[in-house]
Symmetry: C2
Subunit: 315 residues, 2 copies
């Protein structure tokens, strides 16, 4: 194991191999990073990935751990319709973590900074009892930041992409059946923050959140912040193609499974060119109802999503 | 133990009891915080406090844990001569951490945000194997940010305050002798980031770093970044008054002990009104020499400061 300062030097080399972008006046290596002033408001978020809680090392290549931590953090910027500017990465490593694994995690961040055009501007390296990665992201806000609180009764509920793929992939990994669904496993391992989608909807969306804890739970946050309820039409949910699970299992993971990092969007109307799929309608009655194809309420809405301090409620 | 969302609601109440300041367009509670645009460059830093690595719960009241995590993070802004604008707090809690302890830690952050005028704009709450706090801070840069790389041979080495008090306090806590040095213990428990001092020196300092890992180690970073060496005059070191340890022990902790969060400053000259104490001179010869009162080199410079992956080198 190299010393802390040898490790920081190597991490810096790997993250700054392409130079320091002009948006950064100072990158990695001083007491703090300096981001050049912008005329727009700044959007700030932080997200943690803890081994044994958010992931197991058996499920992910080290590069995936880095890429997915950046994606998960940037997903909150996507949900605000913000444009990424830079990120900070705080790594806590157990003593037995070898240099090669650490540097491969950093390579995953390097892949992420290239993919998103979001340079890693700084960070922190410390010893600790478990591998833990805390990623802070900074973005530029659109003129009107997209909040959770703008949904109104009568607005449609829309979603990008499909729901449930990451949770299916996770279930396959947990049960050693990853060969049954390589696409779903890839969705779990390498989620993508919907940055472009978020910026595209800023003009017409009334509210937005990213699906990190499950559709029902994250929709619940939008409803609570907006003071509305929602009817979700189960027949409209965009389920992932080729799921190796039963339709009922797939539907449950689409409702409860987190970490898809798709965007849930409220809008009065969407342009005909929009790739968003309508899955429900906000209502004046509080609470979330799930409706079957005949319009009758189903029992699915009772299921909760992920709660860090109620682990038994989770898949 | 309350649920994650009950905890977030209570944390939000405690941190936003005074309302959301006007510099924040959006505070805690949405996918991300929104900080209003500023004409000045932004300074960004992140710092981690991990139980069992950076502190033990027996040494600190829960409120101290929060206050000190914010101080440690803000100290990096002080060293850049930046003015704090906001902070984000990512908390990872073991399952057995009770609500009262968690909320007391948050109260420490609330005391810190009031002390520094630096609102907590957002954060993250997750379960994990140990109590871990990762604090991101955002500040405004002076026109010329103060870097580590500006020291030149012939410039003086200066320091704010005294050196070694926090390490003395830590040693007293570790050996159950805290009654022998309540002031030093308080310096460990409630360090203060030297924000005002950092802003005051911006006009004349050529380089700066905060003392988090020990004078010799942090001075080494300035020397490496600036391409210079340094002679440190041991007789000039401002030692804490009333140390219960021997003069030699106190001197060693002043050289090697971290977490004082004082500022080490390089300057060609300082105004006569400056409270900085001169402790040495930067040199063309690389390496750090410690000199006794006759100007002869001593052996102290061989001692290293804290390294997260070489724990045996630490006090």
């Amino acid at each position: 194991v190299s010393s802390e300062h040898e490790r920081i030097a190597e991490i810096t080399r790997r993250l700054q191999s392409g130079g320091v972008p002009t948006t950064l006046r100072v990158g990695i290596g001083d007491d703090a990073a300096v981001l050049r002033a912008s005329a727009r408001d700044l959007v700030l978020s932080v997200d943690a990935s803890v081994e044994g809680v958010h992931f197991e090392r058996a499920w992910l290549a080290p590069e995936d751990i880095g890429f997915r931590a950046l994606s998960a953090a940037l997903s909150d910027l996507a949900a605000m319709a913000a444009e990424p500017r830079c990120a900070l990465v705080a790594l806590t490593c157990p003593a037995e973590l070898d240099d090669a694994t650490l540097y491969a995690i950093v390579d995953g961040f390097a892949q992420g900074q290239a993919h998103y055009g979001c340079p890693i501007a700084g960070g922190n390296l410390a010893a600790g009892p478990a591998l833990s990665i805390t990623t802070t992201v900074v973005g530029e806000s659109p003129e009107r930041p997209l909040l959770r609180s703008g949904a109104r009764a009568g607005h449609g509920l829309y979603v990008t992409g499909t729901l449930g793929a990451a949770a299916i992939g996770l279930q396959l990994l947990r049960t050693h059946r990853e060969h049954l669904g390589p696409e779903q496993v890839a969705r779990f391992r390498r989620p993508t923050a919907r940055i472009e989608e978020g910026r595209a909807i800023a003009a017409y969306a009334s509210a937005c959140i990213d699906v990190s804890d499950g559709l029902l739970q994250d929709l619940g946050h939008v409803c609570a912040a907006s003071g509305v309820g929602c009817d979700v039409e189960l027949a409209c949910l965009p389920l992932p193609a080729g799921s190796p699970l039963t339709r009922e299992e797939t539907l449950e993971l689409a409702l409860r499974g987190g970490e898809d990092y798709e965007l849930l969007v409220a809008a009065e109307a969407v342009p005909s060119s929009s790739p968003l799929v309508r899955i429900g309608t906000f209502t004046t009655e509080l609470g979330i109802r799930t409706l079957d194809s005949t319009g009758s309420p189903t029992a699915h809405a009772q299921l909760a999503g992920f709660d860090h301090f109620r682990p038994k409620s989770t898949p």
